[in-house]
Amino acid sequence: MIIFIYILIGIAIFSLYRLVIGPTIQNRLVALSSISVIFIVILAIYSIQYRNMFFLDVSIAFLLLDFIGIIVFTKYLGKEEIK
């Protein structure tokens, strides 16, 4: 069960490449949302493994926070071009 956490951390580091040298902001946002989904899955696996309900609440709140942040950021990017 713990090996899945290590595999997912490796995948997150592998997609961190696009976050660092993405050419535009949208590429970085795609990588950021991908990494946040991976982080949510890691928290859920950790919570099931150690029978701790606290991390599931953290993962649900993290998903909502990530959603709101990216929606606000993309609204800002779209409006900047319309002017």
Binding site: Q26, A31, S34, A44, S59, I70, T74, K75
Partner: protein
């Protein structure tokens, strides 16, 4: 019964890990923002839902599995909305995709793709 269920949950979780690895590979490899969205976000949503479903199978009927079902529902709703918002902002900034739109006639489509290549 229990051993079979546990084996099946391990199998489905490793399947989801392979799917998420393919998502990261597409994010690394594809040339355009729209192709990266096409590869990354849908595949990531499916992989995360499959891994969480394996966790539900492993956890049995309890409060933890109910919360994980809520998490699956939220991922199923919210992640495509994020993808759509990113694609909309890229479109409003005037970025055109490398591969032209599929609403072109067939010959012109193939010609355009070969010419850009």
């Amino acid at each position: 019964m229990n051993v079979v269920l546990e084996f099946f949950s391990y199998f489905i979780m490793s399947l989801g890990c392979i799917v998420m690895l393919f998502a990261a590979l597409g994010l690394y490899r594809f040339p355009d923002i729209y192709m990266r969205l096409h590869s990354s976000t849908k595949v990531n949503t499916g992989g995360a839902m499959v891994i969480l479903l394996g966790l539900v199978l492993r956890s049995g009927i309890s409060t933890l599995s109910a919360k994980i079902l809520v998490l699956i529902l939220l991922i199923f709703i919210l992640t495509p909305v994020i993808s759509h918002a990113i694609a909309r902002s890229a479109h409003l900034q005037g970025k055109t995709p490398i591969v032209p739109f599929a609403s072109y006639p067939k010959e012109e489509y193939e010609y355009e793709f070969l010419r850009r290549k």
